[in-house]
């Protein structure tokens, strides 16, 4: 099984099965007698026919080809790959949370509603906002929801000229994409040489057509936007609102709050800052927080407390409506709630302090070998710009691929776009000094290899289950499902 390389379809054998159902105990009828045969399918769907052991071995083997936070260090910048506590999974799997129907009567889900109401309060306190909706399913979904709220706010004041959103060129790609989906035009502004908002360029684009500005703070370079108060004042004076992308909130919990910096609308990523697992690409959760004057625009329903009980309030005429079925990714919210309880207020502050300590420690060690374009105190992450000495033209991609051979998940590469050959490192607070030192040693070793044995880097990785993959071939041939014709090459 060591070199297991089968698709489940290639294991399928007619007649095998992995399921059991009780016999149908109602009087048998022919479905043809109640559903016209013209509405039935002619052939069975081509799903695999395998035994239960086959299913278990197959997916276990697949899991062995993956690398998760539980496998090892995962310093993926902007993604906050911190440890995902096991107890949180157990809590979300309690039957009283996992086996409740979203349309059950409110009286039968008081525990769930109380949890959501309290989580709203906790996230409000952490972010300095007044109300939080848990409905958005991910960060990008939170952005879109927040931008809809901004648009609804301007429209409610009869201010229909404001059709533009300002986005810095350092922003994550979802920012401009979300603004476009919300029906805005995008005005991109160039950052200054330190990756911060350039106040003169900002002033130049502000007008009565600007609906708002989207910003991450700390920025995508991991640096605190020192002029944030001035930026907020400028945007507010021009009649716009400030949107906070919470991607980097892990740096400032208990230390500074977007609400106090002048932000009007925010989203947080429960799957980054609040320890819920990334799941190989989801589910996430992107709660949206607002200042009290914008609360009437939040998606419905909002959870309210009425006497001793909790209710789903749909009676909100100014609401932007629903952005997702039901109430959001509740199962993810349960884990974030459990995490906040585990950490407590002081614990969360310590999280941010340790996250920043770890990042600065790594930065101080690595800047001797890798170019550090902006050398100042960083927050929870920092961005390098390729190797310091690079006569052999080693690409950032090569460094990343070589890290795989040493058993590490590489940092984020080639982002933010404003730094050439970017290597974006976010260690998170859950990593020990020993883990950081081992990774630093490997990064130094790779810098040496780049000088002495560049070919090892250019052809890396060598020890992974597959080697570098031909992405151009994938995009040209577009095999997007099993077509039944592949023959084993081994």
């Amino acid at each position: 099984m060591k070199n297991y390389n089968s698709l489940i379809f290639e294991l399928s054998k007619e007649g095998r099965k992995a399921y059991s159902l009780p016999p149908c105990d109602v009087p048998d009828i022919s479905l043809d007698s109640v559903i016209p045969p013209s509405l039935m399918r002619d052939s069975e769907p081509e799903l695999p026919e395998v035994s239960e052991v086959d299913v278990v071995r197959h997916f276990t083997n697949l899991s062995n080809k993956n690398y998760g936070v539980d496998t090892g260090f995962y310093p993926l910048g902007s993604c906050t790959m911190k440890y995902n506590p096991k107890i949180n999974e157990d809590m979300a799997n309690l039957s009283g949370f996992s086996n409740i129907h979203p349309l059950q009567p409110e009286a039968t889900v008081q525990g769930a509603l109380k949890l959501m109401y309290e989580l709203d309060g906790m996230l409000s306190e952490i972010s300095g906002m007044d109300r939080v909706s848990l409905q958005p399913a991910a960060g990008a979904h939170g952005e879109l929801t927040g931008l809809m709220i901004i648009k609804a706010y301007h429209e409610s004041r009869g201010d229909k000229k404001r059709k533009k959103i300002i986005v810095p060129d350092s922003a994550h790609g979802t920012n401009p994409a979300s603004a476009a989906v919300a029906g805005f035009e995008i005005v991109e502004i160039e950052s200054d040489k330190n990756g911060a908002v350039d106040l003169d360029r900002l002033k130049a684009v502000l007008s009565d057509e600007i609906a708002g500005l989207m910003l991450t703070n700390p920025s995508t370079l991991g640096l605190f936007e020192k002029n944030i108060k001035q930026i907020a004042d400028l945007v507010h004076e021009a009649g716009g609102l400030l949107y906070y992308d919470g991607a980097n909130a892990n740096a400032i919990m208990g230390i500074a709050r977007p609400g106090d910096m002048g932000f009007d609308v925010i989203h947080l990523n429960l799957h980054k800052t609040f320890s819920t697992p990334h799941g190989g690409g989801g589910p996430g959760s992107g709660p949206v927080g607002v200042k009290s004057e914008l609360a009437r625009f939040l998606p419905v329903p909002v959870i309210e407390k009425k006497g001793d009980s909790y209710i789903l309030d749909y009676d909100r005429p100014d609401s932007i409506g629903k952005v997702k079925s039901f109430y959001g990714n509740f199962g993810v919210a349960v884990k974030a709630y459990a995490y906040i309880l585990s950490m407590g207020g002081e614990g969360l502050t310590d999280v941010s302090r340790k996250a920043v300590l770890n990042a600065n420690y790594m930065m101080s060690k690595l800047k001797k070998y890798y170019e550090l374009p902006i050398d100042q105190v960083c927050k929870h992450e920092f961005v390098l710009s390729g190797l310091l000495e690079n006569d052999n033209h080693i690409a950032t991609l090569d460094v990343a691929k070589r890290l795989l051979d040493y058993g590490y998940h590489p940092p984020t590469i080639y982002f933010p776009l404003i730094v050439n050959n970017a290597i974006m490192i976010e260690p998170t607070e859950t990593e020990s000094l020993e883990t950081l030192d081992s990774f630093i040693d490997v990064m130094i070793k790779i810098a040496e290899e780049a000088k002495e044995a560049p070919d090892i880097l250019k052809t890396a990785p060598h020890g992974t289950v597959v080697r570098r993959i031909d992405e151009a071939k994938a995009a040209r041939s577009l095999i997007l499902k099993w077509d039944g014709t592949y023959l084993h090459k081994e």
């Binding site: 080639y414 992405e471 151009a472 995009a475 040209r476």
Partner: protein
């Protein structure tokens, strides 16, 4: 970087070969090199009437997507269907792989374009 004599070049790195009322348009060697391995060339509909500066094609590589702008106003007469199956032709032979042929509707755009020598100098400055 290769260039070819007899062609006109735009600042967005498109080339134009004028044949009477017709213009063949593609992207330059500089452009294909900057994009990397090209995996898809979106072709416009035949019959479309485009202004100078309109996007006539989106060219995708693995890690990038780039709009191509028509340097001269024209009506699309023909598109290079071979690129649908073999987009890599643009990498292999950028000056042989025209993307569209247009019937020029306004020659004004041609005056803005560079000759080979000017384009080489332009690229040197960009680099």
């Amino acid at each position: 970087m290769e260039t070819k004599s007899g062609l006109l070049y735009s600042k967005d790195h498109e080339w134009v070969r004028v044949e009477g009322e017709k213009a063949y348009v593609g992207i330059t060697d500089y452009a294909q090199h900057a994009l990397g391995e090209i995996v898809y060339v979106e072709l416009p509909a035949v019959g479309n009437e485009l202004n100078a500066g309109d996007v006539f094609s989106v060219i995708e590589s693995v890690k990038a997507a780039s709009d191509s702008y028509l340097p001269v106003a024209g009506k699309v007469l023909e598109v290079n269907e071979a690129l649908s199956d073999s987009p890599q032709l643009v990498n292999e032979d950028p000056y042989g792989s025209w993307i569209v042929v247009v019937e020029i509707t306004d020659k004004a755009g041609l005056d803005e374009l560079m000759n080979e020598q000017e384009y080489r100098e332009f690229c040197d400055k960009e680099a």
